[in-house]
């Protein structure tokens, strides 16, 4: 039962500051996903936690144990973690069984070693593969062996760096699900870097969103999805629509945006900003009075749902709206849009960060 706690972590690679003032706490036993664009430092963070990169400031704690403070570090081979890098990294000169048993201490008996290896292989669904060589396995099987290898020493913390990225779509979903349930069942504190927004939302207990070497927001999937701190962050977890808006600073604030037409009074203090809307938070109706209209320019049909692209007057770009069920409209039709869901207001001049 180990909590992963990172405080004010700073990392320099050469002259470049890659991570700055990074704070993140992953409660013991939970599965966390780390989302962010390429180059934001996700892999560096993982490698720093693993001990492969030396930080310049900040502290990392595994439970009660201080693992690194400023540039004093506990070397990686003493940290008792599991690390799955992107390339899997099975040792090509060793068999599957030897790979899995690689980290096991020399002092345990042969019999014990054998049983641990078999147990691990069974855990990942590869019973009987002990004697095979890595080059004889498919990509998915290799990932599973790598996982078995990492888990064989019952690590307190497991770090995964996009481990499913080079698998095909269907396999990715299936394997990801298996792996996550395995880790959750064994109550291992896990941190997974991923590009896949949906996968992260589905599997994680905690989602951390990174930008430019810094964790900007973290929370439950629902929390970060529904309450992103900015449009940019919102993008990490799903499609977002940012509409320019103005609100009237009165006791009852009224909202004016291409989607919200407030007739009448425009006097009083007006604050400019934007609102963030998720595609599923807009409903499409037949042309109705009192609602803003838009013209359908494209329909993307996904089978289980569809995404309509519409031209909204007052807004330069196409907006996307997600609808479920059969699509009742065609391209070119003018429809009415209704905004359901919370008003997420983002001020024009944000105070601080």
């Amino acid at each position: 039962m180990t909590t992963l706690e990172i405080k004010d972590l700073g990392v320099h690679l050469g002259a470049r500051e890659v991570l700055r003032n990074l704070n993140l706490t992953i409660p013991s036993g939970s599965f966390a996903a780390l989302l962010g664009p390429s180059g934001c430092g996700k892999t560096t963070l993982l490698r720093t936690i693993a001990g492969l990169v030396r930080p310049s400031s900040g502290a990392i704690r595994f439970g009660k144990q201080l693992v690194s403070v400023s540039s004093l570090v506990l070397p990686p081979h003493k940290r008792n973690i599991g690390y799955l890098p992107q390339e899997g990294g099975l040792f090509p000169h060793l068999s599957v069984g030897e790979n899995v048993g690689f980290a096991l201490s020399k002092s345990i008996s042969d019999l014990d070693r054998k049983s641990v290896i078999e147990e691990m292989l069974e855990l990942v669904g590869l019973t009987g593969y002990t004697a095979r060589k890595p080059h004889q396995l498919s990509g998915g099987q290799q990932t599973r062996v790598a996982l078995a290898r990492a888990l064989a020493i019952r690590p307190a913390i497991v770090l995964l760096d996009e481990p499913f990225s080079n698998l095909d779509h269907a396999l990715r979903a299936e394997l990801s699900g298996e792996v996550v349930s395995l880790l959750k069942k064994s109550k291992t504190t896990s941190l997974m870097v991923t590009h896949d927004r949906e996968d992260a939302l589905v599997s994680a207990d905690l989602i951390a969103l990174m930008r430019d070497g810094h964790v900007v927001q973290s929370g439950t999937p629902e929390g970060v999805y529904m309450d992103p701190v900015s449009a940019d962050i919102a993008e990490s977890t799903g499609d977002i629509l940012e509409l320019p808006a103005r609100r009237l600073m009165k006791k009852r604030a009224k909202l004016l945006s291409p989607l919200h037409l407030v007739s009448g009074e425009t006097s009083g203090e007006i604050e400019a900003g934007s609102i963030l809307i998720r595609p599923e938070e807009i409903r499409v109706h037949e042309k109705k009075a009192g609602l803003p209209t838009a013209k359908i320019t494209q329909i993307n049909y996904y089978g289980h749902d569809a995404v309509l692209e519409l031209a909204l007057p007052g807004y330069s770009k196409e907006i996307k709206v997600r609808v479920t069920g059969p699509v009742q409209f065609e391209v070119g039709k003018t429809v009415s849009l209704e905004h359901f869901g919370p008003i997420r207001w983002v001020s024009k001049n944000p105070t601080g960060e």
């Binding site: 693993a50 001990g51 506990l74 081979h77 003493k78 040792f91 090509p92 000169h93």
Partner: protein, 523 residues
């Protein structure tokens, strides 16, 4: 809980993810550096004994300039031809669909098993070699081409055939795609092979002495033997060392900052194999021609001499000489491996000491055997316990030929993907356990090749062996010399044939592609 601190964290993370080398490693590297420096130290000591008048005479006379020009021209000519022929043969073997590929590959490398003096003798006895310099170019080119071929073959294997497909779709013809796509990728490996050729030519004595070509090695030998003036000879040898450092400098600047650190090239397709009858015929004839000239001819001459013998063969002597050769050469090869590994490890990490150890080792490689022999005589005779023992002889071999193994070992260490060593570290392995469990097994094929190269070279070595061997200890090379010195060429033939036969074994092993690492790359 032990914590390891470091002052400048950002520097540690720079680009060298491999981490700082341990003290033991540095000590080992320094030891190798010292061992390699021994002959140079000897030369400097002797050269310092020279009086200034003689110094000026030797350095600035016209003859020295002549020798300088002859030596440089010989090196340039041989390197040029050997590189050209070597790349061509390797290209043909890698890109044309030829029958018996494995056999051809072994046969084109085999000439390396024939010592240059044996080679020269057989060609001389045939009687149609042109004048001295040209003859030397021919002989040395033929015997050293395999070093380039070997390097080029390995380099071709690492090229992704898909790139050539793309090049073709972009409108490049065969020749253009070779120069613009293939060559840049093989130039580093070929450069290393050519470097060995250059240093070999600089140090060769057998061929140039028999053909009367005035190179530094011959001048050094003549000075030792003629005037017993070891100071002048040492001075000439130092000039030789200076030339080899120039050569090494050129190779290093020619070598691009290679991307060897990560084996990131995924071979998605093998190189396309030409199948047209015309290309197959041309390639096959060219290769067969080389094999005939470089391998078959000297062998046939040796065989002819062998069968024209009148006295019966002393089998015991043959057997003893063979066993002696194999045991002392093997010992030398193993010592070389032990000395080379720390240097290679340090060089891969691009540390100061690694770079300089590697360069020192290369420098020593250009020294003729007589210099190495005398240096160790001078050093070893102070210690009667080790003087004229097989141990010291093996040690001499290891320093003489260390350069050949260091290059190969360094490359194979560099090819071990960093992420594997990192993963091993996260799996609880200390640095030394990572080395033994991951790095060394993965680098094993390259380490083996390097060691075999030293083994092979040690078997053929003559001048240092003559001086350092225990009295009464004969190797196949010394037996050959014993007989050819008195012009008993047919007496020498059985020893020469046996030497070539035994040397063929490590040569054959070296010529095979290493399948284990290939598998790793083809994932």
């Amino acid at each position: 809980m032990t914590i390891i601190g470091q002052k400048n964290a950002s520097q540690a993370n720079g680009a060298k993810h491999r981490g700082a080398p341990s003290l033991a490693l540095i000590a080992a590297g320094l030891f190798t550096l010292a061992a390699a420096a021994l002959p140079v130290a000897y030369l400097i000591r002797r050269a310092l004994q020279i009086d200034s008048e003689l110094l000026r005479t030797v350095l600035f006379r016209a003859k020295t300039l002549e020798i300088f020009i002859t030596t440089i021209s010989l090196v340039l000519a041989v390197v040029a031809f050997a590189t050209l022929i070597g790349i061509s043969i390797a290209w043909a073997l890698s890109n044309v669909d030829l029958p018996g590929l494995a056999l051809l590959r072994a046969l084109v490398i085999l000439p390396v098993a024939i010592p240059s003096y044996v080679f020269t003798y057989s060609w001389l006895s045939l009687g149609f070699l042109p004048n001295g310099f040209l003859a030397a170019v021919v002989v040395l080119t033929l015997t050293t081409t395999p070093y380039v071929t070997l390097a080029a073959l390995a380099a071709f294997r690492r090229i992704d055939g898909a790139q050539l497909d793309v090049a073709q779709t972009l409108g490049l013809n065969q020749l253009e795609s070779f120069f613009r796509v293939t060559f840049p990728q093989i130039r580093n490996a070929v450069g290393a092979g050519s470097l060995i050729v250059a240093l070999y030519v600089l140090s060769d004595f057998g061929a140039v002495s028999l053909l009367g070509v005035d190179t530094f090695t011959r001048a050094i030998q003549n000075t030792y033997q003629g005037s017993f003036d070891r100071s002048s000879a040492a001075l000439l040898a130092l000039i030789l060392v200076a030339i080899s450092s120039l050569v090494i400098y050129f190779e290093i600047s020619f070598r691009q900052r290679s991307t060897l650190l990560k084996s990131s090239v995924r071979i998605t397709r093998r190189l396309p194999a030409l199948r047209t009858l015309k290309s197959r015929a041309w390639a096959l004839s060219a290769i067969l021609l080389y094999i005939f000239v470089a391998l078959l001819t000297p062998l046939l001459v040796l065989l002819q001499r062998f069968f024209s013998r009148i006295t019966p063969i002393d089998l015991t002597e043959l057997l003893i000489a063979s066993l002696s050769t194999i045991s002392v050469s093997l010992l030398g090869a193993l010592i070389a491996m032990v000395l080379a590994i720390p240097v290679a490890l340090l060089a891969v990490r691009e540390t100061w000491i690694g770079r300089w150890s590697e360069r020192a080792v290369l420098l020593v490689h250009a020294l003729p055997g007589i210099v190495m022999g005398l240096a160790l005589v001078s050093f070893g005779s102070e210690f009667p316990l080790i003087y004229q023992t097989t141990g010291l002889l093996a040690f001499a071999y290891s320093i003489l030929f260390l350069a050949r193994s260091v290059g190969s070992i360094r490359t194979s260490f560099a090819k071990v993907p960093i992420n594997l060593t990192e993963i091993a570290s996260t799996l609880g392995q200390t640095k030394s356990r990572i080395f033994y469990r991951v790095t060394l097994p993965l680098a094993a094929p390259g380490v083996l090749t390097g060691t075999l190269l030293v083994f092979l070279s040690a078997m053929k070595e003559l001048p240092a062996t003559l001086m350092l061997r225990p009295t009464g200890f004969e190797t196949l090379a010394t037996e050959i010399w014993n007989n050819t010195a008195i012009f008993r060429f047919s007496e020498a033939a059985p020893y020469a044939l046996l030497l070539v036969a035994i040397a063929a074994i490590p040569t054959f092993l070296i010529s095979r592609p290493d399948r284990d690492s290939e598998r790793g790359e083809l994932q």
